[in-house]
Amino acid sequence: MKYLNQVITVTRWEYRRFFKPKNELLGLSIMLLVSIVSYFGGKYAFSGSSEKSDLIVSQNLDCKLTERLLIDFKLHEVPAEQKSTIIETISNEKKGILLFNNGNVFTIHAYKDSKVLKNLRTILDEYQRLQKMQDIELSQADLDNILSPPTIIESFVYSKNSQRRVLLTYFFAGLMIMAVLLSFAYQFTAITGEKQLKITEQIVSAISPQVWMDGKIFGITLTGISSMFTYSLLGIIGGILFFQFTGAPVSTIINYLHLPSILLFLPFALTGILIWNALLAAIASIITDPNNSGKSSLMMLPLVFVIASFTVTRDPDSALSVFLSWFPFTSATAMPMRWAITEVEIWKLAGSFFVLIVTFYLLRILAAKIFRVSILISGKEPSWNQIFKLMKES
């Protein structure tokens, strides 16, 4: 009970130290502002481009093509003799587009390539295709018939690998990456900062290294999860608003919130974050000066494993995927991903989760042991060999 009370006290302290609702709100407000500016800015930019551009064309252009061009362009017809004068004007004034044709060959003159030219090319392609269809007396209906895809009726025995499940796994993996990155920053500040401020001795004279380490792991995990929760909520609300703006019903996004998947992914993600926090805490324990430590790069290790677990999506039933879904440093994301794409028995899910729990239990003990031996080391940073030697001696 004493252990539990102390862990709760340290957890609460770490959580309150790093999770600052004011800062979180400020971050969200900035994000919201940026989104609003991007949305309306984009709209404004598009509205500006809807104006018809000037296009100079030769007088002998086919009338069908002229009619089509008139929809998107303001046309100016000129005799063929003026071609070289216009090209010179384009070069001097750095604007204007000239379109000439010689039979089926079209020539475009412009100062530089642009979006307007892309549109012009599409119109010319379309015109050319229609001309060729007419040459072989092919109607539009015949062409549509030729190009229509075959009718295929699919039937699967296992059909639970819905898109919403897969999307949710990506969503949770993304959140895990975010939580790991946040933990990376917090653990660094929490552990190396306390070492530099020389608070450690005061703390460990009151509580055991295990309590201290557990409190840090839980407190910082909670901080990461709180941020994850805030941003997820923002993502969902943002998504709903986006769908509203684009005219789609709210149910489009709510459909993606597949409850069984969430119930499975949450414990996996939580335990995964705890594991990474335990490992990050162990690494941070031996870093005396974060600015000059070679071990700082090790803190990015979790990210590599989380990203590696994405390979499961290529072939969820391969030996590598099966391994990744059991290996505790990747299984928190890899197993839910496999479950979303392929058939995974319940016992395998439970087994993988059990391995995760055991790994976390052992890692936190290891982290506390590393912390205990490196607690009073200042000055030159110890090597891993020294740490393991000290751990053996203790």
Binding site: Q6, V10, R17, L197, I199, E201, S205, A206, I207, I375
Partner: protein, 312 residues
């Protein structure tokens, strides 16, 4: 009073600890009884802080036994609420309001946070820092930070307080105040183990002294008996008009040691059985002495003498 000083609260037996090539603590033993103010004295690097860290299980001894007469857990270490610790390496959260840090440090030692807040405000009031309770530690001067550190170590009303160099970084006025605070918490029932260099201050509060040098015990006993054993000698301080001559030692008899305080001042320690009349007549023959003071050796003198002898 006698009852208060009769129950051993900590027994240390044959404690040793070495680091790579250094024997930090070598086979030391001592007992601290309830109500003691036990001064742990020694020069820099003598092994004081190492011993204190071993007592708190921050580092582990190579050999020896530590027996606490306090309620403890599986590892026989007393529960945190009974122990107060002011580490030699000072440190607190600099970017967090003072009151929050104090409440947290008291609550990890088992104190109820609301009670800790009230007690912290009382202490801050006494130390003239109540109006700065919501400020961050980094806004305070070094001396005031030291006061906060002291509050953090005794706020939860420990039964046993370990104070490593409690007077360092304090001006003389605050040193005197700290002596009063230590006496007060001792009167309220806390046993104190303190390590310090300021002998004049230790003399004012300690009832027992343990002198350690190069990790070894040099003296262990009561403050009164250290004077009985080593304080009966005669110490004469001489002040010269011109730089003190180097050969005074040869012109005087029964000299135990001589220390040159500076160019003009010399401190001479005479043996216990010295005939002062004879010494004074010998001193009268030395020219340029403008001041002469005779006194019994204080703790500082005894400390220097014992360490010197031990090193020899």
């Amino acid at each position: 009073m006698k009852d208060l000083h009769s129950k051993p609260i900590l027994k240390v037996n044959s404690l040793s600890k070495s680091f790579v090539n250094v024997q930090a603590v070598s086979n030391i033993s001592f007992t601290i009884e309830q109500g003691d103010i036990f001064a742990f004295l020694g020069p820099n690097g003598a092994g004081k802080t190492t011993t204190l860290r071993i007592l708190l299980d921050i580092i582990q001894a190579d050999s020896g036994q530590i027996e606490w007469n306090l309620i403890g857990g599986k590892n026989s270490l007393p529960f945190a609420e009974q122990i107060g610790y002011l580490p030699e390496e000072r440190g607190l959260y600099t970017d967090i309001p003072i009151i929050r840090s104090l409440v947290y440090l008291a609550s990890i030692r088992g104190m109820d946070p609301s009670k800790a807040r009230v007690a912290a405000m009382e202490w801050l009031e006494r130390l003239g820092l109540a109006d700065r309770s919501k400020e961050k530690l980094q806004a305070l001067s070094k001396g005031n930070q030291q006061k906060i550190q002291f509050i953090a170590s005794i706020l939860h009303k420990p039964i046993f307080a370990i104070l490593d160099e409690p007077f360092s970084g304090l001006d003389p006025l605050n040193q005197e105040k700290f002596i009063e605070y230590i006496k007060e918490i001792n009167k309220q029932g806390a046993t104190i183990l303190l390590s310090a260099h300021q002998m004049a201050l230790v003399e004012k509060i300690a009832n027992k002294v343990f002198l350690i040098n190069n990790g070894k015990e040099v003296y262990n006993g009561s403050l009164s008996s250290i004077y009985d054993l080593f304080g009966k000698k005669h110490v004469i301080d001489l002040l010269f008009k011109t730089p003190a001559p180097d050969n005074i030692f040869q012109t005087l008899s029964q000299v135990e040691s001589m220390d040159r305080v500076d160019d003009y001042r010399v401190r001479i320690t005479f043996m216990q059985e010295t005939d002062l009349k004879k010494v004074l007549s010998e001193l009268a023959r030395i020219e340029d002495i403008i001041n002469l003071t005779s006194h019994r050796p204080d703790l500082h003198d005894i400390f220097l003498q014992l360490v010197k002898t031990h090193n020899q």
